[in-house]
Chain length 151, copies 4
């Protein structure tokens, strides 16, 4: 119960640079000793889990659908909610701090919930909501900011 | 099942001008023949229901808590979810179109869900998300835009 | 907010005698002045809504899926949850008292939730859980018991 | 994603023999190489997690409330849902097979959901639903039946 859980959120369709950045975020979170929590699907979710596993970390996937087979292959702990988008609030609640890598409307709903709950959200090329969100320029900076927010 | 349902979303703490605008929105929605759906609590939610009842309309309140007594006194149909913020997705799904009057992070989560679902969101002094949201300058304009989006 | 809401629960596949009994239950609930709340789909849910509409009542359907088109044609107020079976707790919470007409495992989950919440559940040929549930021998008896429990 | 997850469900107030049996169930599940999933609170939930940790296993707690501090101290992976009783469906969906140790209405809702989803439920002094549930006479038998059902 003492483990730190860092949420990594973003588009399920991300590729290229965004995917690579999310891999880096996942790896750095795991190297820092925290678990990575995502929505369990593809794109940024898969990338963050992949990075975490490369560093020997533990990954949690809070799935929207009915089937554990929806989880990407880097998820250690698949939570099958069947709640569709409503699972986004679980991601916000369970994460101690969140890093948003890119992202569309689903990510925006998670950011909104996290801010509503008073949690820190760090944006790596994600939604710009003024000074409500901390902006990071690189995966390294994002993860450093995330851990620092928990001190 | 043929009735139009228009969601009116915004802060539960709104007073003054924002409250008055939400009353106008609720009244105009009811006068246009649609039901008003809100989160059932105070502030903008109460105001929109109050306006709708003044015009003889029907109001639905999708409550976050465990007790029907949480509903403001202008709610005709109280839906008691016990799901806390997760009830926001029900508001987005059940509304055919949404009008956001002011609003904070909870409202932002509803806007995000509605846009994710491909629904029209009209802002009356609410979040500015560029051209993803239609901006209205008055309750009259907001309600006109809402009905027009459903044609 | 003062209207009484009576939940009618049961299988979505019911036909014949069970369907006919649910029509009677819905009609009697509406004649008694209460709204009928169901899960909005077919079988017992459709039958109860049909009966209520024959008596000029109001019907609420708390749908599990993503589409208002899932609602049977006798639903006045369709609530679109997208929560699949998790919507069953909303049915238990929103109903002031519940009448179970036949039913399978989904109905059992609703009965369990309702009993957990301390609500009265009346069985018309539904699950036998000893004296935790009141047993009725006819639609008339079931609806009479339901209204009496609310006195 | 390949790990087996076995749900252990039952009353949050269990003590004495029921608590001791749940400790045994948790330990045997962990010794068998599966993760233990519970609702994360006290009673049977705590006992099963305690047993699993004694055997070096991993425990998941799907919490109903808003605060990770609600989790018993034997939970490794706390999932904070904020969904109250609606989190019961997540327990049913995420578990590959469920063992019910005693239990009241909340447990009954989880059993109903699990059966609805076609999953095996093993009762150790829990609800009697005829031959729909497999009955075990001891923790050893219950866990053996659970693993066998997954072959």
């Amino acid at each position: 119960m003492d483990a730190t859980i860092i949420g990594v959120i973003g588009s399920g369709l991300a590729t290229g640079k965004v995917y690579a950045e999310a891999v880096d975020v996942g790896r750095l979170v795991a190297q820092g000793g925290a678990m990575v929590l995502t929505g369990g699907l593809g794109g940024v979710m898969e990338a963050a889990c992949k990075g975490a596993k490369e560093a020997g970390g533990t990954t949690i996937g809070v799935l929207p659908g009915f089937d554990v087979q929806d989880a990407n292959r880097f998820v250690d702990i698949p939570i099958v909610t069947g709640l569709n988008h409503a699972r986004n609030i679980i991601i916000a609640r369970t994460s101690h701090v969140l890093i948003a890598v890119g992202g569309e409307y689903g990510t925006l709903s998670e950011i909104a919930f996290a801010l509503k709950l008073g949690k820190t959200v760090i944006s790596l090329g994600s939604w710009d909501l003024g000074d409500r969100i901390k902006k990071a320029g690189s995966p390294e900076e994002a993860v450093t900011m995330a851990f620092k927010s928990l001190d």
